[in-house]
Symmetry: none
Subunit: 229 residues, 4 copies
DNA sequence: GATGAATGAGACTTCATTCAT
DNA sequence: AATGAATGAAGTCTCATTCAT
């Protein structure tokens, strides 16, 4: 019964994710994964050749949870501004969940240092994921530039890298900083920071601002019209 | 001879940093740290109560290397634009070095999950470091806003958080992505991305640009066409 | 096969008893117990959580060897004098064997000082054993008093405590003293000393002495005139 | 200053006795003995060649505390009954103190198993002590027999061994049994049990018993005249 | 395929002892 | 003679992995 086997595999990965998130990879015992998955230790080794392999698959499986995170991005018919806003909202909405699972990713770094095989498999997948993410975001940007919604002078690559880096950086910081004090290390922080970047991306509305500038000397309003870019 | 003792401590920490960076915390053996530091294993335990404590101190000591990284920030008499450019350059210049040592930090996450004491000590110090960094950057921003060099509508907190997150995010990604393909995961990438953010911070030059905007439809895009990248 | 497991446990305890008796608890290495028991070191820890726990069980198991030592005591139908003589003979007969194993017990004292858990388990069992022993002896004494074989003025508790203490004291002394010089530190010594106590217990033969006593007024003092000897 | 040296040695032994009684020999660290004695670890080794030697001396020194315990025994001019009563009272009065220090002695057994030198030194001294004790008690007994205070049919050796064994046995049992339940494991227990033995030693009051014996042929007295020994 | 008892290499840590100062 | 930092041998215990059932 193939279903059983696949389900069993899933149960094992879920158990591994749970325990590793709680205790850390090194402190996690194969025994505990086995018992929490409801299988024997021997069965673990029927599915994964070693603890490290199991861990890499565990980390990778946790990334798959975010596959559905970027659906808005893919609706190419929607307005670019809506699409990118939807993306930002998805990221913000998933922040807390991702934040938890990023712990797993951190631990992968140790594992990777001692297993080149694990390194290649993990990093390869991460690169694919980031490439897809980058490409999706770039698509939106290009669409927006083409439609005139976004500034025409944007370097798509730079904006994309900055956007992704900002999200990752907030995630990273949320790992140790106190959201009560550093309030931007949070889902709302993601909304705010990505929102600010978004302002820098968006084209200034045609007429009006220009007029304003023409009319009023007050440089004060100028900065507002020139978004953060 | 107190010097000897301090120097010995330093040698141990340096050895630990070396080995842990190479092999990872878990794969590192106390024996190897001892022999590479030129002391006996017992001496290790005269200085650090446990492997974990030694590791936390190792990570923290690696952060101290970057204390000198922000000197430009502190020269309050310099022009805000120069100060923030100097900061960006410092970060970019230190990127490769920091990138290596961030491996240590990643490994700390595993350790932290199983030792509340280590967690408090490490996280506490990280928070202080980030607080200082944040405050230094915010000072520059406030000075620039006051001097009219930066836009007056900036939310200092947001800009600071975004700036820091961008740097951290690039650092994080450089851990696994290939700079040959994703060229922004590099010191130059830091320059480019932070530079782009900087553009969004900087006030539009007084009259002229505004005029340009007022008159010619396209020129407007000119400054914009020279994107931060 | 449950038998196997129990047998393995027995083999381990036997090996532990052997080695600990030879070298002492502290000088005994888990490796040696394991190899002498024909199992791996890991298996040792599958059966006993720690070296100390193994030791406590080893000591306790050695006490079980003496369970069969007091059968005569339990044949309540036998004559009290025979029963108590049988008991004395059992103790004397077991002296040399017990004497060896008392070494184990001595060592328990060190262990007990640093492990309250071990203390409770070991002392608890010892108390039970002594309580059973005490009760068995007291039963005989009471039966003998009732039957007129023993003196009626005996304080059962005192006689019991003295009897047991005498045996333990001889055992203790045999640990360091030389039976060649102090000949009573031996199985025969047990026979002699317990025999002497027995004389003090036994009622003087029927008539005659009573008569003697009859001459002197206070019959009350009679028992006192016939000392424990 | 020789005084200083002797005092220092005493301080070390006192510290060792303290710590070993609390934690047990194995759990006792040379560091702690040194610091509690107010000397450096190196100094310890100026006085005692090894931890084991220090321990043996510690145990032996604790026995010296009881040298003054048997003064009454030595006043050969006093009445035998008074002398033996004084001895019993001394032992009872010292019970609690001896009881504590017996812990030290128990631990010596482990040490002795791995160090023949320690064994010889410790056991040799113990034998001397017991020999002196035995001789002192035997003296009293002989004096009492000679004076008619004690029964003439006593086997001095048996009585002495029983007396000593009883005391040691109670001491041993007090190590693990609960005086609240087994009330004879106590100073009073010593009084009671030795008191009972004393009754068996004491000659029946002058005239009457003697008369009795005189009157009644031999048989009756035979068993009595043939003491348990 | 599943199980889980057995394995044993190997790690951290301790601590008696030394010896330069 | 005193000190106490340094030493390093050695021990307990862990746990990933195996394999007979």
């Amino acid at each position: 019964m193939p279903t059983t086997r696949i389900q069993k595999r899933r149960r094992i990965l879920a158990a591994a994710r749970e325990v590793c998130s709680e205790k850390g990879f090194e402190a996690t015992r194969m025994d505990e994964i086995a018992s929490r998955a409801g299988v024997s230790k021997g069965t673990l080794y029927n599915f994964f050749p070693s603890k490290e392999d199991l861990f890499v698959d565990t980390v990778l499986s946790s990334y798959q949870d975010f596959d559905g995170l970027l659906p808005a991005v893919e609706d190419a018919s929607a307005e670019p501004v809506r699409r990118i806003e939807a993306l930002a909202e998805s990221l913000a909405g998933g922040f807390d969940q991702i934040s938890q699972q990023i712990q797993l990713a951190h631990q992968a770094w140790s594992v990777v240092l001692r297993s080149p095989g694990a390194r290649d498999r993990l990093f390869g997948t991460l690169r694919e994921i980031y490439a897809g993410y980058t490409e999706g975001l770039a698509d939106i940007l290009r669409a927006g530039i083409a439609s005139g919604d976004f500034r025409t002078d944007l370097d798509v690559e730079v904006v994309t890298a900055t956007w992704i880096a900002t999200f990752d950086g907030l995630l990273y910081r949320a790992g140790f900083d106190d959201p009560a004090k550093i309030q931007l290390c949070s889902a709302d922080g993601v909304r705010t920071c990505l929102g600010w970047i978004l302002e820098g991306i968006t084209a200034v509305s045609e007429a009006t601002p220009t007029d304003t500038h023409a009319v009023t000397p007050p440089p004060l309003s100028v900065p507002l019209e020139e978004p953060p870019t």
